[in-house]
Symmetry: C2
Subunit: 124 residues, 2 copies
DNA sequence: GTACGTGGTTTCCTTTTGGTAACCGCAAAA
DNA sequence: TTTTGCGGTTACCAAAAGGAAACCACGTAC
C-alpha cells in the first residue's frame, strides 16, 4: 500500500469578500466597538460604559481579535494606574463607510417599522 | 401588602440603529443571501447552489426570518413542480448599499492581507 | 496596612447556533 | 407503478458563543 497524493491540490481558499469582511464584523457588539472607536480613541472602561451591556470578557475577546486582524491598535499609556487606549488603525478606518451604511439603514428601518407599527421589528 | 406600579415606566426601547440593522444581517449566510438576491430574484435551490455550503435548514430559517422582517418577498409560482421565487422587497433594497460597502471592504482586506502575507486573515 | 482603580483573566454555566440526515407531499414523467 | 424534482420540515446533536462572578497584579492614596 502506497501513500498517494490527493487528487485535488487543495484548491486555493478563494475567500468570499463578504465572508472575509463579516468574519471581522461578526460576533456580538463588534460593530458597536468599531462605531465608537471611529469617533475617537477610547479606553477599555470607556468602551464598556459606552456599550453598557457588554461584559468585560466579550469586550476583551473582541478587542483582541480586532487587534489580531489589524483593525484596532492598542497602546498602553505610561500612567498610573496604567491606562490603555484603543483606536482604529488605518485598516480599521476602511470599515467606517460600511459601519456608517449599516447605521444608516438602521435609521431607515426604524422609521419604516414605526410607520408599519411593527414594534421594533426584529430584536436581538 | 399592596401591589404597586413600578417606578420606571418601561422606558421606550430606544433601539440602537446598529443593533437594529445587525439583527437583520446577523446569522450565518444572511449577507450572502441578500447579496445574491440583490442581483436578481432567485429560487430556493438556486440560492442553495449559489452559496454552496449552506444547509437547507439554515437557508429556510434565514429566508423565513428575512420574510418576517419584510426584507424579502416570497412568491409561489403556479408551475409544476411548484417553484418559489425570493426577491428583495422595497425595504430589502435599502440594504444593498450596506452590503455593497461590506463587500467593498472585503476586497480591500483581501489586497492588504495578501500584501502582509496574513493568510486570509480571520476565517470563520 | 488596607482600599481603590485600571485592565483585564479565568472558571463555570446556559443558551444559541448550525450541521446532518431522514423524512414529507405533491404532480408529472417514465 | 415507481421515480424524480421541488421546496421544504423535523429530530437530533456537537460546538460555539456569551453572560456572571470571582479573581488578579500593580502602583497609588489614604
Amino acid at each position: 500500500m502506497v501513500v498517494r497524493r490527493k487528487n485535488k491540490v487543495a484548491l486555493p481558499p478563494e475567500v468570499c469578500p463578504l465572508r472575509q469582511c463579516m468574519s471581522i464584523l461578526g460576533g456580538a457588539w463588534t460593530p458597536n466597538i468599531i462605531w465608537y472607536l471611529s469617533g475617537r480613541p477610547r479606553r477599555f472602561s470607556e468602551l464598556r460604559a459606552d456599550i453598557g451591556e457588554i461584559s468585560a470578557k466579550v469586550l476583551t475577546v473582541r478587542l483582541r481579535r480586532l487587534e489580531a486582524s489589524g483593525v484596532v491598535h492598542r497602546e498602553v499609556m505610561p500612567t498610573s494606574p496604567p491606562t490603555v487606549e484603543y483606536r482604529l488603525s488605518e485598516l480599521g478606518q476602511e470599515l467606517k463607510p460600511a459601519i456608517a451604511a449599516i447605521v444608516d439603514v438602521g435609521h431607515r428601518l426604524k422609521k419604516i417599522s414605526a410607520k408599519k407599527n411593527v414594534p421594533g421589528g426584529l430584536r436581538t
